[in-house]
């Protein structure tokens, strides 16, 4: 009789395996899992390193002035107008996109028949997949003429209100148009999150509230929206992060000016950090200006990272409360 050796004794516990192949596998996978961290740290270190000489030569005026003059001696770089412009565009986009996407998701979750809602979900996802350069193309040739007409009407009837003042008669390249394009980009992003969050409202609660005589509005106000508040805020901030970093769609429809356009949203001229980088990069006159653009990119990165982290913390915290 042939004696077979007893099988090798192995630890079958689920946490750490003593098997050599497993240890190698674990190490490789763990290493790969930290790519995200490495990339984020890399961006911080490399772009941060480019920021140092710029801040050294410009001082804080890099962040607090509005002059961009690479040919002056010494060269002057100030991105305050761009930082403010990015925020202004984001605010305009939020004002349009937040009500629109909330109402859209309310319609999809609570009003539309199931089949219609499924089709709409697909359509909204498709909308999210349209590349921003194409939205820019559309905005330049299709939205621009229409938006000019809207802005003229706004100016004609509400021009006394400082927000809608326009002295130049030039209605192209305004923050309003750029903000509108950003809103078009944000709507599908925000909607896909709010739709999921509202869809998770327990049906028992909805039925119970209806049985108690709640109208749709009361149900939304006291059941669905409080239930999904965190997710809704998080979704809005995810969209905001995307809007702050958007470059190309804004590039075509915003006239980039370095002076701050405080709140004349239908007056030509505004700023955006991301667009500044692309528009100046092609003609950047060698190393110092490229470096200033890289520094601007660093602050853009820092800002969007902050917004995005906050958004995720909010979404995650409410996720924990719900489950």
């Amino acid at each position: 009789m042939v004696q077979t050796a007893p099988p090798e004794v192995r630890d079958l516990s689920s946490s750490v395996s003593s098997h050599k192949g497993d240890r190698v596998f674990n190490r490789v996978i763990t290493g790969a899992a930290f790519t995200a961290l490495i990339v984020l740290a890399g961006i911080t270190v490399f772009l941060g390193a480019q920021t140092v000489p710029v801040l050294h030569s410009q001082g804080l005026s890099f962040l607090t002035t509005t002059v961009w003059n690479p040919t002056a001696t010494p060269a002057q770089y100030g991105i305050l107008g761009m930082l403010y412009g990015s925020l202004l565009l984001a605010v305009i986009a939020l004002v349009i996109a937040v009500p629109a996407s909330l109402l859209l998701s309310v319609f999809m979750v609570f009003m539309a028949p199931k089949k219609v809602a499924t089709v709409m979900t697909n359509v909204v996802d498709l909308m999210a997949a349209i590349p921003s350069v194409i939205l820019g193309l559309w905005a330049f040739y299709v939205l621009n003429p229409a938006a000019v007409e809207w802005q003229k009407l706004l100016n004609q009837y509400l021009g006394w209100f400082p927000l809608f003042k326009n002295d130049s008669g030039n209605f192209l390249g305004t923050p309003f148009i750029a903000g509108f394009v950003l809103a078009v980009m944000m709507i599908p992003i925000v909607t896909s999150v709010t739709r999921e969050v509202l869809g998770r409202t327990p049906p028992e609660l909805i039925n119970a509230s209806e049985a108690l005589g709640c109208s749709m509005w009361t149900m939304l106000r006291y059941v669905a929206i409080p239930f999904g508040r965190g997710g809704i805020v998080g979704g809005i901030m995810l969209g905001l992060g995307r809007a702050l970093g958007e470059t190309i769609a804004v590039f075509f429809v915003l006239k980039l000016v370095f002076n701050i356009n405080f709140f004349h949203i239908i007056q030509s001229g505004g700023g955006s950090v991301a667009t500044l980088i692309v528009s100046q990069f092609g003609e950047s006159s060698g190393n110092p200006e490229t470096q200033a653009l890289l520094a601007a990119g660093f602050f853009l990165f820092a800002g969007t990272l902050l917004v995005n982290i906050l958004a995720n913390l909010i979404v995650r915290r409410t996720g924990r409360i719900q489950s």
Partner: protein
């Protein structure tokens, strides 16, 4: 994101309840009131639209919307009292927002199709842009080199992002190490990196230092940064759906954990992982800013991804928008149409794959 799972028996139970909801019953009077509220305002506005010269935006926003709100409020009030007024307002606004969003989407898609179709020809799809200037008439030159460039850049990006993204997901769902919350957190944070920053990063690290030239490979690296979080998050969702019985079963048969993952879990999740990869590709295929910073542009057909600038579709569109020549603009629309068709194909593949998985 975690999804709440209902078991099917409970869903059908809820559906039974749905059928009996007495407060959802509509009376005949109610239907008549709603019908009047739905028909009267559009008719009035329709008449104003054709008979007066009130500017259309004012007509819709300042006359129609309030009129519709008031009509619905009256209908709701007459049937259900004051409480229903706000209710009717939110319904009108929700339908309005839906129409608004869809008008925009249709406007975008229609403008791409109607303008882009004029540019389409075999020459446009297969020729490159050597000897072509913005004023060259249609029929000469095209996006052949840009299509090839897009494919090249996306493939390079996938070579990095797909394995790393799946590995990240495997770490979260299979290895389940101590760092899982942190890895998740960093992947989420990475998904918020603006595309222009990804381009700048590759520019500083590889191009300004002279390691790489502006090339398809550099652009592929920038795309990979944008692609990785999408792949990782989708793959994580997919791997979570693989039942634990498969894992414990394989372990009980004596396989090592590495084999469980490689021979059982990943093959079982194959369709889902392909979906994850395609979603990642769809996320990046239209990104322009990284291309402008890392790949520049090139009128010639480029086959070597390392040694020279390369044009991809988004960059081609970018360079042709806002040109003073109508033919160049038509080319931009044509390239946009090609890009949208590409995205739509990717999108349809993911839907078909997901539908299959759900049905099974």
């Amino acid at each position: 994101m975690t999804t709440t799972l209902f078991d099917n028996s409970r869903v059908s139970e809820l559906r039974l309840q749905q059928a009996a909801l007495p407060w959802r019953r509509r009376t005949a009077n109610f239907r008549v009131a709603v019908a009047i509220a739905v028909i009267v305002p559009p008719v009035i506005v329709g008449l104003l639209w054709f008979l007066t010269s009130i500017p259309k935006p004012i007509l819709m926003l300042v006359i129609y919307l309030p009129l519709q709100l008031i009509a619905s409020a009256i209908a709701a009030w007459s049937q259900r009292g004051t409480k229903a007024v706000l209710d009717s307002a939110i319904i009108v606004c929700a339908i309005g927002a839906t129409i608004f969003s869809f008008v925009i989407l249709i406007s975008v898609l229609w403008s791409i199709v109607s303008n882009g179709v004029h540019a389409l020809s075999w020459a446009f799809l297969f020729q490159n842009n050597v000897y072509i200037s913005p004023s060259t008439p249609l029929g000469y030159g095209g996006v052949g080199n840009a299509i090839l460039g897009t494919i090249m850049v996306v493939v390079i990006a996938s070579l990095f992002a797909v394995p790393l993204g799946i590995a990240t997901a495997v770490y979260i769902t299979e290895v389940r190490g101590k760092a899982v919350p942190y890895v998740r957190f960093f992947v989420q944070a990475m998904s918020g990196v603006p595309s222009v920053v990804a381009g700048l990063f590759i520019l500083t690290v590889f191009i300004l230092t002279g390691v790489l030239q502006s090339s398809g490979f550099a652009a592929g690296l920038a795309y990979a940064i944008l692609m990785l979080p999408t792949v990782a998050r989708t793959a994580e969702e997919v791997l979570k759906l693989i039942p634990d019985d498969l894992r414990t079963g394989a372990l009980a048969l004596g396989s090592t954990r590495a084999r469980v993952v490689m021979k059982v879990v990943l093959p079982a999740a194959k369709t889902g992982l392909i979906t994850a990869a395609i979603l990642g590709i769809a996320r990046v295929v239209g990104e322009t800013a990284p291309l402008l910073l890392t790949a520049l542009s090139n009128d010639q057909t480029v086959l070597n991804p390392f040694n020279q600038p390369i044009t991809a579709l988004p960059a081609y569109i970018f360079s042709n928008v806002a040109q003073p020549y109508p033919d160049a603009v038509t080319r931009a629309w044509g390239a946009a149409l090609v890009l949208v068709i590409l995205v739509a194909i990717l999108f349809t593949i993911t839907r078909v794959l997901t539908a299959k998985r759900v049905r099974r």
